[in-house]
Symmetry: D2
Subunit: 314 residues, 4 copies
C-alpha cells in the first residue's frame, strides 16, 4: 500500500495532495472553488486528482474531505451551504471522472483523523480535535476510530448551545458555541471593543488603520503579543468560552487529549494558557479525575488533506 | 455462557440480580446501603452476591454498576460522593470476599448498556441513554460498544453547562443541565410555582396537602394527566430544556436513538411529546439530516442490574 | 398641627400608631388581618383607629399605608393580592366608619416618606428607599416630595427585570429583581445550597435542624456572623444583585442617598459592605460623578406607620 | 418674556436657534464641533450665540444642552467623552464670551423638556422621554418639573443593565440597555444577520451594496416598509428590548406617557406597534393598572434646542 490523494474541498478553494503512508505530502496543488456553478466543483476535483495521479501512477485511492453533512455511506453530501450542494452524489461523480475509488468524509473529521494519525493526536485513542476558524469544526476519536455518529453528522461542536437566546448563528439558531469561541468570535470581540470603546482599543484601531472593520485575527494576535491590554482581554474572553466548552465536552466525552487547530490556534500559548485556566476552573469533578492534555494541532491546514488521504487507504 | 450477577450500588440501596444471557433477571435481592460506614458497603455487596451465588452455583462473574467516577481499568471508584468513596479499590475488595471475577462500571453506563442490549436500544449501534432522576446519568454507545472515554468518566451529561451563571449544582458549578432537565428540576419548577404563584398552582398544592415541599414528581404527573395547566407548564418547561440538551448532544454525537430513562421517564408521552417538539425546534441543520428516535427506556430501574451483569460476561 | 394616626395594613397584620409632629409614636396597637373576609379588613382598621382616637381626641387625620396599587387620588386600592382587594374604595369606607379624614398610600411609599422625614433620609431631597423583605418595596423622594408617578403606582422596584428568562416571580413575570435581591432571595440561596451541596452548608443545616426548609434569615445571618463561608457566600450573592440594582437605579434616578430597610437590612454591615462594593463596581460613569450614600433605615418596621401618619398631616 | 437662544452641543456639531415663548424656532444656525481642541468648543458656542444675538437683540438668555454629565448647579460639565471635556466650567466661559446669562443642561434633559413643553409630552405632568439613536438618552418629568436627580446626572437610561454579562458597552460595563434598544442596536442586529445568514438577509445586503458594513438605519427601515422578513425581524428584536425596558421604567417611575425620539423613532409605527406589544406583555401588574401612552416625539432633532432655550427662560 502506497500513495493516496487527499482533497480538501472548501467554500473558497479545492486543495489536494499526494500523501504517502507516513502521512507526508509528496506534492500539492490547489484551485479556486468555482462559485458560479456547484456542478463544476466535481470537475475541479477531478482535474486536480487527474493532475496528481498523472504524475504519481501508484496512487490507489482518493479521499475527499468536504464541508457539510456527509451521509452514513460516505458517498453523498446531504447539505453543504458553502458549496451550494444538496444531496450531491459526489463519490459516484468523482469516481466516474477519475477512475479511482473515492471515499468522502466531512472536513472536520478528516482533519481530526489526520491529527490523530500523524499529528498532535498520535498515540491518543480517545481524542477530540477542535478547529477554531470561521466557525468550529473537528472530529472525535473513540478507541482509535473516527466516531462519525449514526448518520455521519457528529462532531458539529460549533452548534451546541452555550447561551440561551444568545448571539445569532448562521445555522439559524442562537447562542451556538462557535459564536463565542472561534477565530471569528475573536474578531467580533475586538471590533465590538473598537466600536464602543475606541479609547481602550487604540492599538487595535491603529493596526486596523483606524477602522474596526479592518481589524483581523493577525492584528489582534500581534497586539496581544506586544502586551496590549485590549487585545489580551479579547483573547481572554474567547479563551474562557473555549475552555468552558472543552469542559462541557469532557463531561460528555472524557477524551485523553484535545487537539486545537484552525486559524485561531496559530496564537499558540497566547490562546492555550487562558484556555487551560478556564478549562481547569470549569471542569465538573475537577480534583477527582485525570485531566486531558490540551495541545495545539501540528499539521496546520494540511491536516484535512492528510486525513482524507489516509481515510481512503483504510 | 450462562448466568452472571449484576449489582446496582446506589446511595440508598444495593440491588442485585442473577441475570441470564437473554438479559432476564432470574432472582433479585436488595439491601439498604450502610450510610454510616463506607467500608461496610463492600461487605453488603459481598453479602448479596454470596446469597445469590449460593442459590445459583453456575454464576460465573459479577458486574457492579456504581455511582461515581470509575477508573479506566474498571477496578477502582475514584470519587463517589453519595457512597463516601474516594479511590476505593472495590473490584479487589469484592473479589477477595466472593471469589468471583468482578467488573466495575459507572451505573449510568451499566444502564445504557442494559438498554442497548436488551431494552429500548436494541439494534441501535449509535445510541445515547439519558436517565432523568435526581440528576442526569446515562451512557453512550458507539458502533455497538460502550464509549467510556479515555479515563472511564464520560457520559456525565448532567454537568455540561446550559446556562452561564445559572442555577447552582451539587458539583460545585452553576448552570449544569441536570438543574434544568431532571426529575428534581420538575419538582423544583412546581414548588417554585407553588411558592410564588399559589393561585396558579391550586391543584398542585392540593395534591401536596397545602405545602410546596410536599409536591413530588408523582403529584405533578397526576395533575398534568388531569389537564392541570400549571402542571403541564412545569412539564413543558422541563421538556424544553431536555429537548434542547438532546439537540446539543445530537450536534456532538449524532446518535441514531435517544433512550430516556429514570423516574421522570415514567410520565411517558406527557414528557416525550414536548421533548420531541423542543428537540425538533432546536436541532442544528434540521431539515437537512436524518432524525434520531427519542424513546422511553424499557427495562426500568432494573436496567442497571441487567447491564452490569452483561458487562461481567464480556 | 399635632397628632395623627398611621396605619400599616399588611397581609398578616394591621398595625396602627398615634404619631406626633416629631414623628414619634405615642401609642401603638395591632390586630391580625382578617384573612377570611376582605370586607372585614376595613372594620379592623376602623377598630384600631377608634381605639386610638378614643384615647387621643386631638387626632386630626388618619393615614393608611397599604400593600398594593393605590390610585392617583389616594382613595382606592386598585389591586392588592395579599389583601384580596380589587378596586376597594378604602378611603371612603374608613372615613365613613371613623369620622376622620383619611389618606391612603402604598406602604412602600409610606415607609420611604417616614424615613425621609424622620429617619435615615432626613436632609436628603433626592432619596430612594428600598425595603428588602419578602419582596422589594420602597419609594422615591424627588426634590423633597414623594414621587408617586402618574397613577400612584411607581416605585415597584421589585419588578424591574434583571435576568431575561430568569427566576419565576409571583407577579407572573420572570427575572424580577426581588427574586435575586430580598430577604426571600437570601433564604432561597441558602436552601438551594443546602439541598445541592449539603457538605458545604453544614453549619446552615445544623442551624436549620438538618432541614433546608428550616433555614430562615436569622439563621443565615447568625452563621455569617460566625464567619461561616457558605452563609457569607449567600450574603455576597444577594449583595451583588442588590448593588447592581442600586447602580441601575442610580443610572435612572441619581439619588443622593439610598436608604435600605426591610428584614434583610437587620444584617447591617454584613449586607451593606458587599452591597457598596458591588454598587461601586457596577455604577455607570463611576469615577466621574458624585456617589450617593447607601445607609441602613433607622425607623425599622414602624417607618410605615410614621410615614402614613405624616402623609395624613399634609 | 420673549426670545432666548438654545444651543445643542454634540460630538459632531453645535446647533443653535433663537426660540420664542411658543417654542417656535425663529432662526437656526450650525457649526461643526471642533474636534481637535476641546477649548475651542466654547468659542464656537459663543460664535453662534453672537451671530444670533446680533440679529435678535431682544434675546435675554442662553440655554446649552450638552452631551455628558452636567453638575447640580447646571454650570460645569463633569464628564463628556464625546466633547473631551472634564470638569469644564462651560457656563462661566460662555457667559464671559457672550455677556448673557447661560444655563447648562444635559442634552437628553433638554430634549425631554422641549417635548414636555411644546411637543408630544404637552399636558403630561409625569412623562419619560427616551431618545433612541447612537445610544439612549432622555429625561424624566415629575409633576411638571424636570427631575435631574441629586447631582444632575439622572435619566441615563441607556446604562441600566438588561443582560448580565451581555454585550459590551462604551461605558465600560456589559449588558446596558442601549446595546439592545437603540438605532445602533438595530444596525448591529441587521449587520449580524447579514454576516451570519446572508441568504436570509438578501434584501438588506442589496440595499447595503453587498456589504454588511454599508447597512444603515434608513436601509433597514426601507426594507421593513417593503415587507422584508429579515428587516422586520430586526425591528421586532429591538422593539422587544425597547418595550421590556419601558415596562421596567414603568415599574420604577409609572409615567403617564413615554415619548420616543431619536433617529430610530423616525420608523414610526413600524417601531411603535411591536414596542407597545412588548410593553403590554412585560408590564408588571398588567390588567390591574392604567397604561401610559407610548408616543413618537414631535419636535425631531430640534427638541434639544427648544428645550435648552426654554430652560434658559425659567
Amino acid at each position: 500500500m502506497g500513495l493516496t490523494i487527499g482533497v480538501d474541498v472548501g467554500g473558497t478553494k479545492v486543495a489536494a495532495g499526494v500523501v504517502d503512508d507516513d502521512g507526508a505530502i509528496v506534492e500539492k496543488v490547489r484551485r479556486p472553488t468555482p462559485s458560479t456553478d456547484p456542478e463544476e466543483t466535481a470537475h475541479v476535483i477531478a482535474e486536480v486528482v487527474d493532475l496528481l495521479a498523472g504524475k504519481y501512477p501508484d496512487v490507489s485511492a482518493v479521499g475527499l474531505g468536504t464541508a457539510g453533512f456527509v451521509d452514513e455511506d460516505r458517498s453523498t453530501v446531504l447539505f453543504a451551504p458553502n458549496l451550494a450542494w444538496r444531496d450531491e452524489p459526489i463519490k459516484k461523480k468523482v469516481e466516474g471522472l477519475v477512475g479511482l475509488p473515492v471515499v468522502v468524509e466531512n472536513d472536520g473529521n478528516a482533519t481530526a483523523w489526520g491529527e490523530s494519525r500523524y499529528g498532535a493526536g498520535r498515540g491518543q485513542d480517545f481524542m477530540v480535535c477542535i478547529t477554531l476558524g470561521t466557525g468550529i469544526g473537528g472530529g472525535i476519536i473513540v478507541d482509535g476510530e473516527l466516531n462519525r455518529g449514526r448518520f455521519g453528522i457528529g462532531a458539529e461542536f460549533g452548534h451546541f448551545r452555550v447561551v440561551p437566546d444568545g448571539r445569532r448563528c448562521g445555522c439559524g439558531n442562537r447562542g451556538c458555541w462557535e459564536q463565542y469561541a472561534s477565530g471569528n468570535a475573536l474578531v467580533h470581540e475586538a471590533r465590538d471593543l473598537a466600536r464602543v470603546a475606541p479609547a481602550m482599543a487604540g492599538r487595535l484601531l491603529e493596526l486596523g488603520e483606524g477602522s474596526p472593520e479592518r481589524i483581523h485575527g493577525p492584528q489582534i494576535t500581534q497586539a496581544a503579543r506586544e502586551g496590549d491590554a485590549a487585545a489580551l482581554e479579547c483573547f481572554k474572553t474567547v479563551a474562557q468560552w473555549t475552555g468552558q466548552g472543552l469542559a462541557d465536552l469532557s463531561a460528555i466525552l472524557d477524551p485523553g487529549a484535545f487537539v486545537i487547530g484552525g486559524g485561531l490556534s496559530e496564537a499558540g500559548d497566547l490562546l492555550l494558557d487562558p484556555v487551560r485556566d478556564a478549562f481547569g476552573a470549569a471542569l465538573t469533578g475537577r480534583g477527582h479525575r485525570p485531566l486531558p492534555d490540551i495541545r495545539i494541532a501540528e499539521l496546520g491546514p494540511a491536516a484535512g488533506i492528510v486525513g482524507a488521504a489516509d481515510l481512503a487507504r483504510i
